[in-house]
């Protein structure tokens, strides 16, 4: 990866980013394939459940619902109609280069400043379309999804993972957030799509800020004061 004209910092950044991108691509390919075709394998994409004093992982938020763990989520997905995701945009970033303590890395050097490619926590963002119900004709919504992935400490990960043979649980989902972002056109009533365009349009978007009682009120209006709404 190195280059004579690069500083060591740039060289490391390039190396970490390249691995993170490999992870993001291999992971999303495998995950969305499983979502469509191998739903019974979904739980194997998640990190082991850990309940600590201030948080619980994996943290799974999907379409405004919180799932207790990967198995609960998997059973939910297994109850869904046909879905087919198409990734339209993908990006990733390294969040924490030293997420996995050096001592816990299988086959690592034990040095806290080494093996960062295999110890890092990675955020992945996806936007795409999700076809529902029928392969060609079903409604197609737009969605956005964020994953935070962490290394699988029970697995020996190669120094520069290439994923030539595809995803094999090298990184696991720690945090996930899925949202539908647009209704499929076929799901909208007659003329309703047009009405929404006018409503979300240019003229009125900035009026009313502050006029309804300040920021807290706005958050209240958005339902934000009602914390931790779980499953209905």
């Amino acid at each position: 990866m190195g280059d004579a004209t690069m500083t060591p910092e740039d060289s490391l950044a390039l190396s970490l980013d390249t691995t993170a991108c490999n992870v993001a691509e291999a992971f999303t390919d495998a995950y969305y394939n499983a979502l469509s075709k191998y739903r019974s394998t979904l739980s194997s994409f998640y990190c082991p459940k850990v309940i600590s004093t201030d948080s619980t992982v994996p943290s799974i938020y999907w379409n405004g619902e919180v799932y207790d763990d990967d198995l609960a989520f998997q059973s939910y997905i297994e109850s869904l109609t046909y879905t087919w995701a198409d990734i339209e945009s993908l990006d990733c970033t390294v969040l924490n280069t030293r997420f996995l303590p050096a001592a816990e890395l299988k086959g690592g050097s034990g040095d806290n400043d080494q093996d960062l490619e295999r110890r890092m926590q990675i955020a992945v963002v996806v936007t795409g379309s999700l076809r529902l119900e029928e392969p060609a004709k079903g409604p197609m919504r737009e969605f956005a999804e964020t994953f935070v992935l962490i290394p699988n400490k029970d697995k020996q990960i190669s120094a520069h993972p290439q994923f030539k043979n595809g995803w094999d649980r090298e990184w696991l989902i720690q945090t996930q957030n899925f949202r539908f972002t647009e209704w499929g056109v076929s799901e909208l009533g007659e003329g309703q799509g047009e009405a929404m365009k006018v409503d979300g349009g240019v003229k009125n978007a900035f009026q009313g800020r502050g006029a309804r009682g300040g920021p807290a009120r706005h958050f209240a209006a958005a339902g934000l004061f009602f914390k931790g709404k779980g499953k209905a």
Binding site: S43, N96, G128, E142, G208, K227, G228, K229
Partner: protein, 634 residues
């Protein structure tokens, strides 16, 4: 080899070799007829690529001496008086296909011959059997016309069994004998009450041991496929096997992997209970041949295998392979309700309009309010307040969103923003990718200077979808906590307006966005942006978090407030500013009386044809069904 039958042997020469190899892989019965290990002692001459299995050097030297002739049987001829002519015919054609030099010290290929009924039995050297195999199916020109010959070459076990008294019986029935023994074995091991096939500790079975089933790796690998063939003879249809065998145990067989037994999944795909305990599986990898097989499996026992200790967390992978697995090693892993959900009718998820906001101390809330105000008005202040040397920013543009409004989106050029896009689906080169990852205030400032001025709408119910969840393991700038501290993952979706001046324009356009912030403690405000990832799409679709009438009727009403579908279906969401002054007054009255948020007041009035009394009646009727977010928080 009776199971494949003579009719499948019409191919000649290399063809039959290939055919046999394929049957082997399918796990069909070729027990004791391994052409690979018992191939010729010398490399095959010519025929390269057709007789691939024979090209492999012989690994087993025993039994190849001239004293150890093996029997080749020939049937299909009719007239015993032509035996001499027939023998010459066979000698001639086999010799042409022999791998060793003609003549020589070993002379003819057929060492002896005898006739039993309509079977001619030839004694040949083991290394010559491939040559005879190749002329199987040849036509012999007898005085009575052409006669198609069936030539059966010996079994591996033949030499071992040559001492047994029934050796004089026709060798063609030898596989039948084996199958009969296997069928007897299966019958002994079958419990009709439990519908259990007990295949545990097979190697300890006296009968099987006496037959030499486990004398070598080679015969062992053939045993199980043969056993499955025997099972298929006892229970001919898949339906019978499903009905009669619901449980199988393979316990205590010292299996290191599934290579020898993998055909079980084809023969008994519908079993509900499987016991693999007490074997030698060192890793779940050794079980992967059966991943996603046994779709009805409810109960699996894998205790007493090394991977239980060697691979903590192995349960998760195994559970994922079998969607209907309820009990794993006596632990319940799925409830009846879970299974019912899998097997029940499928439903289409309805986009939720609820936000989930796990944000003690309103950290993320205050951040977002401050951030978007600053991002629109004074980006420099935002950078100084929230971004430090380790903060990263990147954006990606989804230029071809097919979902949602699809082709009806407002297609506006992306202008100078496009070169910032780090869409990994479009951008492949590692250096180009890393160049579009902006780290630290200076580079983020550069990137943001390319983004045109924006205006984000107020935080109103209909404008955004937002979630906030705890995010453990974000970097700790103080370095005190190895492995990181708990931060927040904030995701927000919506539309904003852009003042577009590119290409000589001067217009306001809408953009749809999705943005993910990871926030951690630190920085001058106590909150720092660890990562800021920004996705852009064309605007013009209908935000999914706004309920739609026709889909709200779908069978998932629980997450949509009862009052809303009917109301929205009639009116559609209406902005307060598009109302007449009279209507706005009515909205104010309803809001004062009900404390509902503005949109709900409008919806309620619209559904009541703007009649205050009807609206009041509707509210009183529905108020108990409204969720808390229908009301203004006090």
């Amino acid at each position: 080899m009776p199971p494949t039958g003579p009719s499948s042997r019409i191919a000649r020469g290399g063809g039959i070799q290939k055919q046999r190899a394929r049957r082997d892989r399918d796990g069909d019965l070729v027990m004791g007829m391994d052409p690979v290990r018992k191939g010729p002692a010398r490399p095959q001459r010519g025929r390269a690529g057709t007789g691939a299995p024979n090209a492999r050097p012989q690994t087993n030297g025993s039994g190849s001496g001239s004293q150890n002739n093996v029997d080749v049987t020939v049937t299909g001829w009719s007239d015993a008086s032509e035996i001499e002519k027939l023998t010459q015919f066979l000698e001639r054609h086999a010799a042409k296909r022999s791998t060793r030099p003609r003549g020589g010290p070993n002379g003819t290929m057929i060492k002896r011959s005898r006739v039993t009924g309509h079977t001619l039995t030839l004694g040949v050297r083991p290394e010559d059997t491939p040559a005879f195999r190749k002329i199987n199916g040849f036509s012999f020109q007898s005085a009575h016309g052409p006669e198609k010959l069936t030539i059966t070459t010996p079994h591996l076990s033949a030499s071992r069994r040559s001492t047994s008294p029934h050796d004089s019986a026709a060798t063609t029935s030898e596989s039948d004998d084996t199958l009969a023994l296997l069928q007897a074995f299966l019958s002994r091991r079958y419990d009709p009450d439990l519908k259990l096939l007990n295949l545990s500790q097979i190697a300890d079975d006296e009968e099987m041991g006496r037959l030499g089933m486990f004398a070598s790796a080679d015969t062992t690998s053939k045993f199980f496929p043969a056993l499955m063939v025997a099972a298929c003879r006892l229970m001919k249809t898949a339906e019978e096997r499903r009905a009669h065998v619901t449980s199988i145990t393979l316990a205590n067989n010292n299996l290191p992997n599934l290579d020898n037994v993998t055909s079980l999944a084809q023969t008994f795909p519908a079993i509900q209970n499987l016991d693999l305990s007490g074997n030698a599986f060192a890793s779940t990898k050794n079980l992967r041949n059966w991943k996603n097989k046994f779709r009805s499996l409810q109960h699996l026992i894998v205790s007493g295998n090394p991977f239980e200790v060697a691979e903590p967390g192995w349960e998760k992978e195994i559970i994922s392979w079998y969607p209907r697995l309820r009990v794993l090693n006596a632990v319940e892993v799925r409830t009846d309700a879970d299974i019912a959900r899998i097997d029940g009718p499928k439903h289409t998820p309805v986009p939720s309009h609820q936000n989930i906001w796990q944000d003690e101390g309103a950290i993320a809330q205050n951040f977002l309010l401050d951030f978007y105000d600053g991002f629109d008005k004074n980006r420099e202040a935002v950078i100084l307040k929230y971004y430090d040397n380790e903060s990263t920013f990147s954006m990606n543009i989804n230029t071809g969103a097919k979902g949602g409004a699809g082709s009806q989106h407002h297609r506006v050029g992306w202008d100078d923003q496009l070169p910032l896009s780090r869409n990994l689906r479009k951008l492949n080169h590692p250096k180009a990718r890393v160049a579009r990852k902006y780290r630290g205030p200076e580079r983020i400032r550069q990137a943001w200077s390319v983004l045109p001025p924006t205006r984000h709408p107020a935080f109103d119910t209909n404008k955004y979808s937002m979630d906030c969840q705890l995010q453990p393991g974000v970097p700790d700038p103080t370095g005190q906590h190895t492995g990181g501290v708990t931060g927040l993952l904030v995701t927000i979706h919506g539309e904003y307006e852009e003042h577009r001046t590119a290409k000589g324009r001067n217009e306001v356009v809408s953009r749809a966005f999705d943005r993910t912030f990871v926030l951690g403690p630190g920085g001058p405000s106590g909150v720092r942006v660890v990562s800021d990832m920004f996705s852009l799409r064309a605007a013009g679709g209908t935000p999914a978090w706004i309920p739609q009438g026709n889909t709200a009727a779908a069978p998932q009403p629980a997450i949509v407030p009862v009052a809303q579908p009917a109301v929205v279906a009639v009116a559609g969401p209406v902005d307060v500013n598009s109302l007449t002054p009279e209507q706005q007054q009515l909205v104010a009255v309803v809001q004062r009386e009900t404390k509902m948020i503005t949109q709900y007041c409008i919806d309620c009035l619209a559904a009541s044809a703007w009649d205050l009394n009807k609206a009041a009646a509707m509210f009183n009727q529905l108020k108990d069904t409204l969720t808390a977010d229908a009301f203004i928080a006090m």
